[in-house]
Amino acid sequence: MSSGRSRKKAEKPIAIAGISGNLGRLLTRTLHAEYPIIGIDQRPFEGKPKDVTHYQVDARRRKAENIFRRRNIRALVHLGLVHRPTPGRPVYREWNVLGTVKLLEYCQRYAVSKVVLISTAYVYGPGPSNSNFLSEDTPLLGAEDYPEMRALIEWDMFAQSFFWKYPEIETVILRPVHVVGPNVRSAPANYMRLRRPPMLLGFDPMIQLLHENDLIQAIMLSLEPGMRGVFNIVGPGEVPISTVIKELGKTPVPIPHPLAKPLAKRLWRWGLSKFPPGELPHLQFQCMVDGTRAKEVLGFRPRYNLKRTIRSVLG
């Protein structure tokens, strides 16, 4: 349990980009007993375990490259565009993509053998003509009607081209469905925490949820030697949004859909709502994915059932 170095499987450390976020801290708690961990994040790492070295740097700066040059890193886990749109922070997305470009460049230059990138199933985009379960080969149309999502797609496509370009590096791209849990502050988790979550009048699409610990499990499986590829990560099942809200003991606010987009945009801009307008299509159309590949190749099985996954946002 403690940080005895001798216990650790490998001497070569794992770098986690975006370690200071909720998911990053959670991942560190799981990993640091087994592997030496290096954190890379501009934000300070609150409650950092003693045996973790944290570099509070901008990935685009020379200092970040120095970490790779000196530390002989075995694997990079990139927690991606921590999917948390914030009003009035467009720059955020900009540097997120650029930062990743830089980090992957270092991985290639300093022979990091494994890269795990956490994208999102949002990249496929909700739409009326979607098949019920989209495979990993589905075109990424998530930004078609919602430019807010553009950085997400850009990021995923960049990760994919890295995967093809450097076959000597084991690149894993995970596309989890809505991640929820007691720690994460993802858009869907925040939505479920709203006192009265909005729904679109006459729409109740099916959704898939994934417990944060199940995502951690998927990341651990991806770190195993030999694993590479793009994987949808699906939780324990599919339910209508209304069922989720009911299970949480809440009452939704139905909004007629022609009003919803302008309304959500205004409220967001004025800082009156915690609901990002780019998420709106998820309340109207479905964007569910097929997790067969992760099941067969990674051996991933969610450990949390639907009820526990839904209720986890309350904890």
Binding site: S135, P240, F285
Partner: protein, 285 residues
């Protein structure tokens, strides 16, 4: 509200035939802990909807299903002619498979991609087991050993005018490629009676375009009587289920090759329609 709703549902359950409720209970569904399947199907909606469908099925159209035993267990594609301006033929075929087939069978049919854009229908259709008709969806359902109902004539079939009744339109090839890919047998289905439920003199194309509908039928009562005009006549439905047809070959073959196989199904249904019409003495009983 919850209480009143529950009472209404209890009342519906109360007036439903025990035997029918038992059939609904015996439908092969694989549900999760919240009582829905991965496609959003919720048998509750069938349970509370079936009394209404049944009233139309037994009392209004007095549907006579024939050859239900021909539908094999496991994956299967039911291919039917499409007629009658409003898709009651689909509802009646599905009802027949639930209340008159043994064991009862849930049929999945495909909806157009604009259905998910319509409020209410967007969730109602999935809850009663109908899903967006993409190739992946159909394939996935057949691989789950489910039964799919499809109308390869599409909207051209249902919006036929009275003069063209019981003349099958060209068949789309999607169903045949699916049958070849999944090895699912094809059961030809002929619905006799639905063509006369809403006789349409002409389909008024410009007006259809204007309201964004696939067709704008002009009937003795529509649009003259307004919405009342779409009330179907109390015709008698006869639904013939034919012997299963098995196909094999390359699912990605040229259109001509696959089209030849689709034509076999079309010819079979056309023949079943002809025989059914010959045997029929009267449109209304």
């Amino acid at each position: 509200m919850g209480k009143i709703g529950d009472r209404i549902l209890d009342a519906i359950e109360g007036i439903t035939d025990e035997e029918v409720l038992d059939k609904v209970k015996r439908l092969d569904t694989r549900l999760n802990e919240f009582g829905v399947d991965p496609f959003g199907f919720d048998p509750k909606f069938v349970k509370y909807g079936i009394p209404f469908a049944l009233a139309i099925y037994r009392k209004y159209f007095r549907v006579e299903p024939k050859g239900l035993k021909n539908v094999p267990a496991g994956r299967v594609l039911l291919i039917s002619n499409h007629s009658g301006q409003i898709p009651l033929d689909a509802a009646m075929i599905c009802t027949a498979m639930i209340v008159d087939a043994e064991p009862p069978r849930m049929l999945r049919s495909m909806v157009e991609t604009w259905v998910p854009t319509l409020p209410i229908l967007s969730w109602f259709f999935p809850r009663v087991g109908q899903i967006v008709g993409t190739r992946e969806n159909c394939q996935r359902l057949l691989e789950r050993e489910e039964a799919i109902l499809a109308f390869p004539e599409g909207v051209r079939g249902i919006s036929k005018t009275f003069a063209q009744r019981y003349q099958l339109e060209e068949f789309g090839l999607g169903f045949m490629r699916l049958a070849l890919r999944t090895g699912a047998p094809v059961v030809p289905v002929a619905v006799v009676g639905a063509e006369e439920q809403i006789p349409s003199f002409i389909s008024f194309k410009p007006l259809a375009k204007l309201v964004g509908a696939p067709a704008f039928p002009v009937t003795p009562t529509f649009p003259w009587l307004g919405p009342l005009g779409i009330l179907p006549l109390p015709v008698k439905y006869r639904i013939h289920f034919g012997k299963p047809m098995h196909f094999s070959g390359d699912p990605d073959a040229e259109d001509e090759v696959v089209g030849e196989k689709a034509k076999q199904v079309r010819r079979t249904i056309q023949r079943m329609l002809r025989d059914g019409l010959k045997a029929r003495k009267n449109v209304f009983w």
